[in-house]
Every structure is written in C-alpha cells, then in structure tokens.
C-alpha cells in the first residue's frame, strides 16, 4: 500500500513547526510516531499534502515530577513509559497500559501525545488519562494553553486541539499517600485494540474511605468515557464488595458499545462490568500497600 504523494518537512523548532502548519493550513498534518497516521495514509484515509514530522523537536520527551505534578512530554514514547522506574514505583497504571498497547516495536515509535491527539476511543491512553484527571498542554499560533482531559475529546478523531496546535505536555496530579491505580483490557490477541478496557485511579485514607476516584473506559463509547455515576457512587465511602459491584454495573449501563468483530454489545457491557470490579480491587490493593 502506497500513500499519496506529499511533501515532508522536518522542522528543528516548535516555532518553525507551527509556522509550517499555519502556512499549509488544512493540507498539513503533524506526525510524531506515525503509527496511527502512516497506516491511515497507506489506506488513503488520510491524504495530507504536507507532513510535518515533529518527532525531532528537542525537549519534548521526559517524565518528571515538578510543582506537585507528574509531567510527561508529548513526544515521550510508550516504550519510555514502559521502562520508567518512577512510573513503576508511583504510577503503575501507566506501566499496565504501556505494556498492553500494540507490541514492543510499535511502542518504540508511538508517542503518548500522538495517542491522545489522535482522538480515537479505541486507543488506551485516553481512558487512563480520564482516570488520572490529566491536563493537556498544547502550543499553537496563539501561544500555549491547557485543557482538562474532560474537555479534550470532542468526537471521533476530534479533540480540543486546533489544527496547528502541538500537544507538548501531559500533567497529572502527583500520586499522594494511599493512591492506587490499575488498567486492563480484554483483547482478542496480544496487541489488539480493546473489546473493552477499564482504568481506575483512587485514593483512600487510613480508615479505608475513598477520597478520590477516577474511572475511564476504553472503546465502549464513541468518545472516551468517564464512568461518572460509578465514581459518584464510590467517592466518600468505604469500598465494600457490594458497593464496587453496584458501581461496576453502572459503568456497564452508562457506556454505549457497538457490536463488531470484537463482540456483541451485551458481551462488551458484561466485560466492562467485570473489568471495573477487577480494576477497582487491584487499584485498592495497590492503594493499601501505599498507605
């Protein structure tokens, strides 16, 4: 499969990249890892006349804690996440998810920024970022701005990013004492997109009361979905088995999966329920070890 012809640009600075994107308007597309864009170009679903390769921009690949935030650069690859000691110690959900995305060779190229900017609810990182209550930072022709993850996903392949905006950083509140998180998805084979995936991040206090909880769902809704009713049901309470099951049933009711080769609607709802139970329990276990 051969993509349509295009002009390739490889700017050295973010200013240059934005200027190129502004010059070429609708005809231009940024590319970072290229592992969503290139397959679409090969199928000619995407036919940009100008491809602006931002993968060599300096200083956009990092994982660090600073000013009460975990900050991850937009060009950080899934492989960087997978091998990060800081994440393994304090943010295990990001290791869980990285290991489940595609396969190791794809993860060497695919970036976290690209995974979110693609705006596809089949991708795994959107649900994880919903659970972690991330903030997305981007730079465009008008300067730098931020969006809460809740305002980020607008529709299929549509996000809050303008066509000339570059996603530069993901910010996540630093994991405090009593925080635990977990992600898992059911896939037909290793590296497949999810039939359903559930991300949970929660914080408990010494008495076991749930102080904070975020639950995000993968690929069971047209846009990445926060299981809001489930979160509300658990926040401020001691997490018992009954309560967790009730919250999981709400998540299964509130999503709207479509039947496809990965399963029927009923099947996807049922695994969403089961995964929600398991991920809350796993996050809880991790939170208790962290009190």
């Amino acid at each position: 499969m051969i993509p349509e012809s295009f002009n390739y640009h490889c700017p050295a600075t973010i200013e240059e990249a934005i200027a190129l994107a502004s010059d070429h308007g609708d005809e231009a597309k940024y590319m970072s890892g290229g592992h969503s864009l290139i397959p679409m170009m090969k199928l000619r679903f995407a036919t940009p006349a100008h491809v602006i390769d931002i993968s060599r921009l300096e200083g956009l690949s990092y994982i660090k804690e600073e000013d009460g935030l975990l900050k991850i650069g937009g060009l950080t690859t899934e492989a960087d996440l997978e091998y990060s000691e800081l994440l393994a110690k304090k943010y295990p959900i990001l290791i869980d998810v990285a290991k489940l995305i595609a396969d190791p060779s794809v993860r060497n190229k695919a970036t976290l920024g690209g995974n979110l900017a693609h705006g596809d609810s089949a991708n795994d990182q959107p649900a994880v970022m919903l659970a972690l209550r991330a903030t997305i930072v981007a730079t465009g022709p008008e300067g730098t701005g931020q969006a809460s993850i809740d305002d980020f996903f607008h529709g299929f392949y549509m996000t809050a990013l303008g066509p000339q905006d570059i996603l530069t950083e993901i910010q996540i509140p630093v994991a405090g004492k009593g925080t635990g998180s977990a992600y898992h998805k059911i896939e037909r084979k290793a590296g497949d997109y999810a039939a359903s995936g559930v991300a949970v991040n929660l914080q408990i206090d010494g008495s076991g009361t749930c102080k904070e909880i975020g639950i995000g769902l993968t690929n069971v809704n047209p846009v990445p979905l926060r299981a809001q009713r489930s979160e509300d049901h658990l926040k401020g309470k001691k997490l018992t088995g009954d309560l967790i099951l009730e919250a999981a049933k709400m998540a299964a009711e509130d999503c709207s999966p479509s039947a496809d080769l990965r399963g029927s609607e009923a099947y996807k709802r049922s695994i969403t329920r089961e995964l929600t139970v398991r991920m809350i329990n796993k996050a809880l276990e991790r939170a208790k070890a962290n009190l």
Partner: protein
C-alpha cells in the same frame, strides 16, 4: 516531493534522492537490494519487516525512508560479524527456531532489541517481547528456545579470539 537522505545501513552510508512517500522497507529492499527484510502484512501487524533504527526495533513498513535520515540502521544482513553468526542466529539454527524462515529476520531483529533491554528474560517476557512478530510455521516453542539459547550464550564471558 523528492528529498535527499543519508542513511547508514549495516555500517555503510547511503545517500539517495527519494520520494517522501517511499516506505523504509522499500528503500531497503528495492533501492539497496537488501532483501533479508521481508514484507508479510504491510499493515504493521506481522513484524517480518522489523529492523533496528538506532538500536531500537521498528516496523519498516510503517516508517517512511525520510524519517530515518541521519540514522543508523541494522538489518539481518548486518547481524553476523566477521563471518560469525550472532548468538541469536546460532540459537535459531541450534534450536530449530525456523521452518520456512520468512519470519526469522524480523524475529531476530526484534530479539536483539529485547535482549539489549533485558538480558535474562523469562519465557513469558520472551513471548510478550515477540508479540508483534507472527510465525505461521513453528508454533513459537522453538523460537522461544532459540531466544533463551541466545540469552544464555550472550551472558557467558566472551572467549578471547585465538591468535
């Protein structure tokens, strides 16, 4: 639409004018005639086209040649050194890790990156490590053994070459 690029492949630098849309796997196979890198699926699923770019395994059917400008690439042709098989090549031979051999170059390139990151992987880690590389013949059992053979061999102290 054409762009001049310089890519070092297996230690030798090649400068060529290429179309931006030329896939790296076509550059390697058709421009340079290095046909050890295979095309299985052309959709980034099978891993037959796996090569190393700056030491990292990458699927060359999902990379444009222009993206590799200035990079160092290793293909299966560059893996043996001084007429000596790489430990992974030896492992695939000794443990019967191949039947038709179509997947083997990709398996070996992927495994080089895996063993660089994890010198002593468990069987489970090996299986996840090659999860983006499909083999239609072997059933994977001997591929896993071949990689274990290589990991063991690479961990041994290097024998000094005879004079």
């Amino acid at each position: 639409m054409k762009k001049q690029i310089t890519i070092t492949i297996n230690g030798e630098a090649f400068t060529r004018e290429v179309e931006s849309r030329l896939l790296l796997v076509h550059f390697i196979r058709d421009e340079l005639g290095l046909t050890g890198t295979h095309i299985g699926c052309d959709t980034s699923n099978c891993g037959a086209c796996t090569i190393l770019i700056d030491g990292m395994s990458v699927k060359s059917c999902t990379t444009f040649a222009v993206q590799a400008d200035g990079c160092e690439i290793t293909t299966i042709e560059g893996v043996a050194q001084n007429g000596q098989f790489h430990a992974l090549q030896e492992g695939f031979k000794e443990e019967h890790g191949l039947q038709c051999g179509f997947c083997t170059p990709g398996m070996i390139m992927r495994s080089i990156d895996m063993l660089n990151k994890n010198t002593n992987p468990t069987e489970e880690e090996i299986r996840w490590g090659i999860s983006g590389n499909l083999c239609r013949c072997t059933g994977y059992v001997n591929i896993v053994k071949a990689i274990q053979y290589a990991a063991k061999k690479m961990a041994e102290p290097q024998e000094t070459a005879e004079a």
